[in-house]
């Protein structure tokens, strides 16, 4: 017969070992050792993913976006002159990175193609450990990448995307848009068009045949019809059509006295140039001067179209000639680094990077759900568009919108657009369930892992 005996010390040791054994799995899966969200940063750095068009039709725009992101990273890490960090109303960022971690970045090439953009975003998230993705120069790309970020659980801070769908039917909890949209362009432009061209006009639309073009056409047509304008025709044109002459010649005999070009980038440059070549601006129809409207302008696009933009109205998210303290600080910072003024794409991308970093700092975490909470209904100022609200209901920024006109006598190759009106935010705000934005559902934030 064997007897089992133990001392009090032995019992205590055994109990401790047993306790550790039971506790081990819990310790190993606790926040101290395992990531609680996708790409939770463990070291001294945090990686941002800049997904911009580096090739393709919007490559120049993408290059400007990348310049802005690099500038933002410098400023976040406390280098350079700080740019709009000094004017930003939130003072959470201290210039020592984000949450004490130095910001580093990886880049991807969207090629302005949805599939390529998703692939490069996935690579940045899965292989490079990007905590967030930002960028793009197309609504098609924005919608595609926003969907991916929602699936894998990172934040998407959209770059240049103007389609209503991005924060409308395709809105996502993990996606945020600082840029304005087609509805806001229509709301801002309509009163200016009325005061300059009257309320008795016949408009002809040429529209890029994809999500952005459709929603812009719908928005501008609704806004101008509300003025009393008649929409004579809406013609869809293939992306990258090059020569638009066969679409422009029918305008000549259509009875229309306004041509609205719902085109962007290279298509805009070509269609506007050719419309001017065909003498539309010298034409008189219905006893009125024929007019052309470009609802969405960019400085880079105006450079491509040259003198053809003279006197043509459009809208823009931001322009480097704005005289507020924040815009001037950004122009100075960007201009001194690169030798030319930033585009609106550069401005919105810089702002998105700063807004994301600030939200992390205020939330005290990089966890996407914490960041979503910090950004929703966040009110700020000092990023160049006056007081701004990141509306929680659809993650769309609401701020003043600029109506611009092609400058008659530009003083330099960059001085192509003049701001004719800063339309107050109240005039461009709409309800989250507005019919043009209906059908979307933010869902809930996804932290991934």
């Amino acid at each position: 017969m064997t007897t089992f005996s133990t001392s009090r010390r032995g019992l205590l040791k055994g109990g401790a070992a047993l306790g550790l054994g039971f506790a081990a799995p819990t310790i190993l899966t606790s926040k101290a050792f395992a990531a609680s969200y996708t790409n939770e940063p463990k070291g001294s750095t945090v990686t941002f993913g800049f997904n911009v068009p580096q090739t393709g039709a919007y490559a120049d725009e993408g290059a400007d976006e990348l310049r802005a992101y690099e500038l933002a990273v410098e400023h976040l890490n406390g280098e350079g002159d700080g740019g709009m960090m000094g004017t930003f109303s939130s003072k959470a960022l201290k210039g020592n990175g984000v949450l004490g971690k130095k910001v580093v970045y990886v880049t991807g090439d969207t090629q302005t193609k949805s599939d390529a953009a998703r692939a490069s975003a996935r690579r940045m998230i899965e292989a490079d450990g990007a905590i967030m993705v930002t960028g793009g120069s197309s609504s098609g790309v924005a919608v595609a990448v926003q969907g991916l970020c929602q699936e894998v659980g990172v934040i998407f801070m959209a770059g240049l995307t103007h389609s209503n769908d991005t924060t409308g039917k395709d809105r996502k909890a993990n996606g945020f848009r600082h840029f304005f949209n087609a509805y806001m362009s229509g709301a801002a432009l309509a009163p200016v068009l009325k005061s300059n061209y009257g309320s008795d006009r016949k408009a002809y639309h040429l529209t890029a045949d994809y999500t952005w073009g459709w929603t812009q056409e719908e928005s501008i047509a609704a806004a101008t019809e509300a003025l009393g304008w008649e929409t004579v025709n809406k013609v869809r044109t293939p992306l990258g059509a090059g020569d638009f002459s066969q679409y422009i010649t029918p305008v000549l005999n259509s009875g229309a006295d306004v041509l609205i070009l719902n085109h962007y980038g290279r298509d805009m440059v070509n269609s506007l140039t050719q419309a001017v070549q065909f003498g539309l601006r010298d034409k008189q129809v219905n006893g009125k001067n024929f007019e052309i409207v470009v609802p969405l302008y960019s400085r880079l696009m105006a450079q491509g179209a040259g003198k053809n933009v003279n006197g043509i109205f459009g809208s823009t998210n931001w322009h480097w000639s704005l005289q507020d303290e924040a815009s001037q600080a950004f122009v100075k910072s960007f201009g001194q680094k690169y030798g030319f003024p930033p585009s609106q794409a550069a401005h919105t991308c810089y702002s998105q990077a700063i807004l994301y970093a600030d939200a992390c700092e205020r939330a005290g975490t990089f966890n996407p759900c914490g960041v979503v909470e910090a950004l929703e209904d966040f009110e700020f100022d000092g990023l160049g568009n006056g007081p701004t609200l990141y509306r929680g209901a659809d993650h769309q920024c609401f701020k003043d919108v600029l109506v611009v006109k092609g400058k008659e006598n530009p003083s330099s190759q960059f001085d192509l657009l003049e701001v004719v009106e800063v339309v107050p935010v109240a005039n461009v705000t709409y309800a989250p369930d507005h019919p043009m934005f209906a059908g979307g559902d933010l869902g809930s934030c996804n932290a991934g892992v």
């Binding site: 090739t55 039709a57 025709n233 013609v235 002459s245 010649t249 179209a305």
Partner: protein, 342 residues
């Protein structure tokens, strides 16, 4: 009727570009048997000859203003073109006429590019399958367009027509319509006339010169011509150069119609191949005929009245016609028997 006439004119414009590119493609295929997918890139390089000449003529002296500063606090740069500093009024005219003047530069440049391309790369693929020729020439096209993008950027660079040719012309009045009913950009008519002259010159060269006759003989029976002691390879290298010049000149003169960017060649390449196939592989007159025919059909298919009946027809009409033509006449409209059949 006015609308129809306008679309016919548009068709002639597009057709002119298609015909000029397809003419060079056919010339290369007919002589060398090479399917040159870099031909669109040659059109694009021609366009960038115009851009380069314009940039060269617009080179300027930069002085810093003592009184004005930029928005970012540095002294404002004041630019004065050298051409104006050195030649005054004549300098301004030179800049204004940079597109037609570019022809003088484009001819030797494109000839050299064509010859170097043929001797340096294409000749190594004469006896290789068409699939390999397509792959290597397509690769070359991508390399060329990436070089242009790296050098000139991705955005289109507008090249205005000379001031005196920039306006509109009352084409309707000239052909008996009501005055002002059909006005058309003057430069587009210039482009059509230019294409007509170039096509005529190529045909005249092949028809009436000794070298042209040798080339035609070589196209019909290369081996026999070689047996007569004629170095047909050298002649065919020249043909490649001429085809490059034709594509390049088409590109130079097209720049005021469509602002050139690095992707310009790819936009025209596929359509031009369809044109060649519809016209008949190896048939020069077929390429020209099909170029104009498809250009006009494409313009008509873009009319609202037609698009309302068949949505999207403007984007598929060329391929639809190609299918119909090839079903009814497999060798194309004016194709020779035996070509591509062995």
């Amino acid at each position: 009727m006015d609308a129809i006439l306008l679309q016919i004119l548009n068709g002639f414009d597009k057709g002119s570009a298609y015909a000029l590119i397809a003419l060079g493609l056919t010339l290369i295929f007919g002589t060398l048997g090479v399917v040159n997918f870099a031909h669109g890139a040659l059109f694009m390089l021609g366009a960038f000859c115009a851009v380069a000449v314009n940039k060269l003529l617009s080179l300027d002296i930069v002085t810093l203003s003592e009184t004005q500063t930029t928005a970012w606090g540095t002294p404002l740069e004041i630019r004065t073109p050298y051409a104006e500093v050195w030649f005054g009024e004549i300098g301004s005219v030179l800049v204004d006429y940079s597109v037609p003047l570019s022809i003088l530069v484009a001819i030797p440049v494109m000839l050299i590019i064509g010859v170097v391309m043929e001797r340096g790369l294409i000749k190594h693929f004469y006896k290789r399958p068409h699939a390999e020729q397509i792959l290597v020439t397509f690769g070359l096209a991508i390399v060329l367009q990436e070089i242009i993008k790296a050098w000139f950027g991705a955005n289109p660079i507008p090249q205005p027509a000379p001031g005196s040719l920039r306006g509109m012309i009352d084409f309707g009045a000239a052909v008996g319509f009501e005055a002002g009913s059909v006005v058309y950009p003057l430069w587009r008519l210039v482009y059509f006339l230019f294409a007509f002259v170039i096509i005529g010159a190529v045909f005249a060269f092949l028809q009436f010169t000794t070298l042209g006759m040798v080339i035609r003989a070589g196209m019909a029976d290369r081996e026999t011509v070689g047996l007569l002691g004629i170095d047909i390879d050298k002649r065919f290298t020249l043909v490649f150069g001429i085809a490059a010049v034709v594509a390049g000149l088409a590109g130079v003169m097209y720049t005021p119609i469509l602002s050139p960017d690095y992707h310009l060649g790819m936009d025209f390449l596929v359509l031009s191949f369809v044109v060649v196939v519809v016209g008949g592989m190896g048939s020069l007159s077929g390429a020209v005929l099909a170029g104009f025919l498809l250009g006009i059909l494409q313009s008509f298919a873009s009319m609202n009245e037609i698009k309302q009946v068949i949505p999207g027809i403007d984007q598929i009409i060329i391929y639809l016609v190609a299918v119909v033509v090839l079903l009814a006449r497999p060798r194309g409209l004016l194709g020779r028997k035996g070509v591509m059949e062995s």
